[in-house]
């Protein structure tokens, strides 16, 4: 014989004792009890308890108590509703200006559009050149002179923004003491 502990049918026993099961489940429990001593014993215990409590005297409640009980219950439920509404209001107040999802999306889209606008509209105007160290670099591909007495050269300084193309003239001293450009 099977034991009640671990029987899946045992959870239906209280409802079976109270005659609250549908017909199909009731027949299932009937068949199980016939073969399971544990469940049959537990069912006997449940029925015994029902008999004991059923025989006990019911507590007397005055009619006016029932009336005040309904009012108190209604007031208590109203208070619960009010508290829920207050909590929701506090949550709304605590949200930032751009707290909602739609506003966040709009703010992000606006910022993105502003960046694109600055890059697309102002970039070609050369306004970013000062931020680009390489923007001012100069590459000298060729250098020559067609005049006698001149010698052209070019110099790049440590400052990548400054390239100097210098034409040394034979008859004139350049810079201080004839040192020419880059003397410093």
């Amino acid at each position: 014989m099977k034991m009640a502990r671990g029987c899946r049918i045992s959870r239906y026993l209280t409802a079976y004792a109270d005659n609250e099961l549908d017909e199909r489940t009731r027949r299932k429990v009937d068949r199980h009890i016939a073969s399971c001593d544990g469940c049959a014993s537990e069912l006997d215990s449940i029925r015994a308890s029902d008999r004991i409590f059923g025989a006990a005297p019911k507590p007397a409640v005055a009619d006016d108590r029932w009336a005040t009980f309904r009012i108190d219950l209604s007031q208590a439920l109203d208070e619960v509703d009010r508290e829920v509404r207050r909590k929701r209001a506090r949550v709304r107040e605590a949200r930032p200006v751009y707290g909602t999802y739609r506003r966040r999306v709009l703010a992000t889209a606006g910022a993105f559009a502003a960046v694109v606008f600055v890059a697309v509209a102002l970039g070609p105007l050369g306004l970013f050149d000062q931020w680009n160290r390489n923007a001012n670099e100069c590459v000298v591909d060729s250098i020559e002179t067609f005049s006698a007495g001149y010698t052209p050269m070019f110099f790049t300084s440590e400052d990548p923004e400054m390239t100097v193309i210098w034409v040394f003239a034979d008859e004139v001293e350049g810079g201080v003491d004839g040192e020419g450009p880059g003397a410093r």
Partner: protein, 179 residues
Amino acid sequence: MRRATVALLIIFLLTLLLVPATALAKGEVIVEVISISASSGDDDDDPDSEASVDPKLSGYAGKLRSLFAYTKYEFLASGRIETAFGTPCTFQLPERFSLIVEPERLEESDGRIEMMITLVHEVEGEHEEAHRERDDGRPDSRQEIVLRTRIRLGNGGTVLLGGPPIKGGVLILALSARG
């Protein structure tokens, strides 16, 4: 919500206004040349004294002082010409110098402006042939190409050209180009 919509609308309208303007400017180059006279006076014996720079050259003062050893920098003239790629433009400079700048192309890779620069000096009366008068009565003269160079200048950048002697010093040119 409403503010964000208005802000987006304004940005969109500004973009519509500015993008065609930049599109029109594409293919053109603004070339600017500043002529500077650099000299070392006789009374500037102290090599440690700071060179005097014309207030009009304040933007270049630091670079001039750091690059050259002259003691005085004077602003002579400035010119600004808007030209197209492939079209040379000529700047008339002091003392019969002229500078021909021809922007050739804008490099796609790094945005540099490739240009041919020619510094020309009109020589008069230095040689016997030049003393002869032409048929129209004007004194004969010839042009010397003092410098011809091909450079690739960063967009918006500046290159310094200098060296030719002028009265009391040497000529320095600050050439900038923006395409």
